[in-house]
Amino acid sequence: MIEFIKNFYNDTSKNMKIALAILLTLVVIFGIFAIQILGWGLGYTDMDNNFAWGAWIIGDLGLVALGGGAFTTGYFLYIFRVDRLKPIINSTVLIGFLCYLFTFVFLLFDLGQPIRAWFGFAYPNWGKGVYPASMLTEVFFCLSLYFCILLVELVPTILEHKVLIKNKVIKAIAHYMHLLMWTMAAGGTFLSFFHQGSLGGGMWGVLYGKAVWYSPYFFYLAVVAAMAGGTSFMVMVPYIAGKLMKKEYVPMETFQTLTRISGTIFIGYFIFRLFDLYKAITYYAPMSGREFFDMWGGYYGVWMLVLELILCVVAIVLLNPGKFRNQEKFMVIGASSGIIAIVTSKLSVLLHGFSAPNFPWKGFTSYMPTIAEWGITFGAFATMILIYMIFVKWFPLFPHLEKDEHN
């Protein structure tokens, strides 16, 4: 083992050593603050009775929305048979898996009583019909099921490890799992579709007492957002990984196909978002006795809304016409602004929702995560990156490359 670590250390380039040192430090910080938060409670965060949720929920929303790209990509590959997406699918499944795993981690930290987390399954709040009354009940069940599906989808990648695949039985299992993967993709699409809506949008949309959140369209908007932003995210992660490791893991045309899908969905998202805003301004906010723009103040003003829309337009302009998309730099800028647009929209949902005053005589409140919150947030992201790197190094994440090597 020591020999292995020694060899690994000697084989690693200088840049990689620095990156690993930073990531490992963040993981250690994560561990320290995890003990503090789990042992002594949420008092060490900047959340309070007014700002009930903070950095970790933003992490959750972002991860689920971007991890949603896994279901969109899987859907296009396995159901629509867009075979050009094949080189990217293992990486996509892994990213989806990591996003969901760390959504669980963040949710667990956010619970005041993490030991009672199983109550969500034991005492679920089902409504009168088949659909749950509480969006969080839906999140509990859908998230767990979809996580299991991603786990199953990930298994072939692990089984195809060059040592394991020599075993005939394992090879056969991996082969047939690949053939049957479309069932998983279909199930995953169905489940992810629901909780995209619930965690990203429905969760806020049903809060009818809060004019700043209530919107009957929020649920559907979040689904479209996840499909648009998620596909861009699935492009950017392997792209950055390829740049860092100085290897072309995924052919450019695969990226082109996926960004084209993303760009098209962004048009739909943009139109839907404008409609949602129009309805909120003219109809739903006045209905609750509020002016829409009065609720957008304090530190997080209308600028967040404007930023989101501008980034959306950038994504649409750069990802749709072929002349821009076919140029690498425009494709990267377009996909990045798409991702940032979705993250900004999630940020502004949370920040505005909690900072807007509930009483006419109160002012806007603000929230600044404490060191414990930052530590856990960045530590979690660092752990995700580390796991992804481990897979890139030791598992067949990009199967077409292995084939080329064999040839």
Binding site: F51, R116, K210, S288, P360
Partner: protein, 273 residues
Amino acid sequence: MTVKDVAMKRRWGMAIDLDKCTGCGQCAIACSQENNMPIFEDDSDVPKRVAFLELMKVTNDRDAKFPDVRAAFIPKMCQMCEGNDPKNPDPPCVSVCPVVATDVGDDGVVSQIWSRCIGCRYCQAACPYEARVFNWWKPKYEGNFKNSLNSDVSVASRGTIVKCTFCSHRWKQARDESVANGNLDINAPVYKTACQEACPVGAIVFGDLDDPKSEVAKLVASDKALRLTNSIDDLPEDKRKAFLKIKQFPNPKVYYLTSQKWLRDMMRFEKNS
């Protein structure tokens, strides 16, 4: 008479006369003592403080000078929202709970089981009145306060949401007492909340909103009564009914009484924008 024959007729509500309230804070203290609120060495961290009843001071204009200055105190506890239909109450905080730790009873009281709560704070996000509080720290009772804890109210653990329940443990006591005296009618006993009992000027009136003879029912029917930020009350009847068909509104069961125009305006968003 058997207990089965008796249907719940109570719909508990409250009327608070802001013109009488002096802001002495007796209600807040009585509430905290009754409901085992933790006491920390430094309770100046207001946003993280655990208290069911918050005494909010409002003024007409921060820059106003004597004699134009107006100030009032608004005791704010859980407003016991009932949604659009009193027969089928749907408070904003109840449907969102993933573990059914909070529920609304047939008496209209929104209750919470501390020991069932997983601390996700979804109800806190849903509450338009900031009435739900979270135990950010482990509850502590300095000195010999532990000896004076109320055995009828459970002490919450760290990381759970707690809220005002209109002192429903007192109602249970009243019912037990009534049954012990041979009266099985669930609608017979009445009770007083801790804040109502403590108010030296009688500004807080608690009772059954559905009983036309009760004092609270008479008070909420008066012109002085209005509900906090519930702007749908100001609309003409036809428009109000149309709105109620489109979406749920909180429609709380706590009413505030005042004849001061500035204070009435203060409780509405559209008059302060």
